[in-house]
């Protein structure tokens, strides 16, 4: 189903509750009443079109309006991507860690195995956090500065220097695959866990890992297929202005 602006937010949530964290990223909270998407976006000063593109991308794996998404300003994309980072750092990663800790305390028999899993997760978490910090500190500020330079048509020595040291191609190289670790963690739990562990606990952790993976996949899809090509275009434009 393609979600459109006249649908009620409550109906959308009934239809696909996995969209909740995504809706939340646009500063929309529960208690949505009978508001339609258009009304809610107006109230929250969110670009209607952008909201729909993101929400539909999440809702339907087959749907990816790459050309359409590329038309939105980079600043809008970056704002959204930053919100998803917050969700990973402040919610998802600590949640999963707490669950693994609970498991460790509640399943005395296999304490050793759980410590291994917990440490593995912590290692993954550290890596993902590092990756996110790098994006926030280096990549995004660069993208925003570039967009401003292209918009105003102003060539500054300051930015030229930056461009000499850093282009988005660097980022392509840096964009390492943290996802492999997440896959391994899931697979170890699915395939190699001792039977004696509490199933219910494991299911909760596993479901959270699947959720996180799906969210990350959508996140990198937007970065790799929308933001990166957009920035490459802007770099090209900037060089034209410059010459």
């Amino acid at each position: 189903m393609l979600i459109d602006k006249d649908m009620k937010l409550a109906e959308i949530i009934h239809h696909d509750y996995t969209l909740l964290p995504v809706i939340n990223r646009f500063n929309m909270h529960l208690g949505v009443g009978d508001k339609t998407i258009a009304e809610m976006c107006y109230e929250k000063k969110v670009n209607n079109d952008f909201f729909l593109s993101i929400i539909n991308t999440f809702h339907d794996n087959q749907y990816f309006p790459a050309q359409h998404l590329k038309q939105f300003p980079a600043a809008m994309l970056v704002k959204y991507l930053k919100q998803t980072h917050l969700y990973y750092l402040n919610r998802k990663l600590p949640d999963i860690e707490t669950q693994l800790e609970n498991m460790e305390q509640n399943c005395a028999i296999n304490g050793e195995t759980l410590t291994l899993l917990l440490n593995f997760f912590k290692e993954y978490s550290k890596e993902l956090t590092h990756h996110i910090e790098r994006e926030e500190k280096v990549v995004y500020p660069y993208v925003l500065a570039l967009e401003k330079a292209v918009e105003t048509g102003k060539v500054t020595n300051d930015f030229n220097k930056k461009l000499q040291n850093y282009t988005i191609t660097n980022y392509k190289l840096e964009h390492e695959n943290v996802e492999e670790k997440l896959f391994d963690l899931k697979n170890i739990i699915i395939k190699y866990l001792p039977e004696t562990l509490n199933d219910a606990f494991c299911h909760v952790v596993l479901r959270d890992l699947f959720d996180l993976e799906r969210d990350l996949n959508n996140h990198s899809r937007i970065e790799n297929l929308i933001l990166l090509p957009k920035v490459e275009e802007m770099e090209h434009l900037y060089k034209q202005i410059n010459s």
Partner: protein, 203 residues
């Protein structure tokens, strides 16, 4: 790890292609990589480039185009051609295809048909190949990987070539479906192939 079977759908009717795609998406190891309506001028070239495992063509009202297509594709025997029809195919056309599915088939019959195609191509995702136990050699190598040794160091230690070690590591990853060194280490520790103190001492 299971190889993904790539499928191309050809036919004019959107609904049939959409239905087929939905049906095929229920097989986790099958992926529809492209859809054509059969009249694209460069269709043969595009299909050949995509190197599909299976091509399913809805033949009705489209026979001549598809016959040409068949002639081209038959040059590449690795592509498995399957026709979909409403039962009114001319015998000479029918005989050109390895498998003919009828649109009126029920779900079980269609499922079996797809499974047969995949088995015949040796592509069956649920193959009987379940013996994923590591060999003794692979266990030795896994232990050393868990201890943080590089391929070169493992090769030196076991008197093997780096190439052999790499092959073993690929097989380990394939059998266990664990890609990262950290993941392999957790597996080795969980299965007591190596102890925490051994790992500690190797650093």
């Amino acid at each position: 790890m299971t190889r993904i079977v790539s499928v191309i759908l050809i036919g004019k009717t959107y609904l049939i292609k959409a239905g087929l795609e939905t049906f095929l998406s229920e097989f986790s190891y099958v992926s529809v990589v492209a859809q054509f309506d059969g009249t694209e001028p460069d269709i043969e070239k595009r299909i050949t480039e995509l190197k599909p495992d299976v091509v399913i063509a809805n033949l009705n009202n489209n026979e001549r185009v598809l016959l040409t297509l068949w002639q081209l594709l038959s040059k590449d025997p690795s592509i498995y051609l399957c026709a979909l029809s409403n039962g009114e195919l001319l015998p000479e056309i029918r005989s050109k295809f390895k498998v003919v599915a009828d649109v009126s088939m029920d779900k079980l019959a269609l499922t079996n048909l797809i499974k047969n195609i995949l088995t015949e191509k040796g592509l069956h995702g649920l193959s009987k190949e379940t013996d994923n136990k590591l060999s003794e050699r692979e266990n030795d190598i896994l232990k050393l990987v868990a201890c943080g040794l590089t391929n070169q160091a493992i090769a030196d230690k076991l008197f093997l070539s780096v190439h052999t070690v790499t092959t073993h590591r690929k097989n380990i990853t394939k059998k266990l479906d664990i890609k990262t060194v950290s993941g392999l280490t957790v597996y080795a520790l969980m299965n007591k192939l190596v102890s925490a103190s051994e790992i500690e001492n190797s650093h």
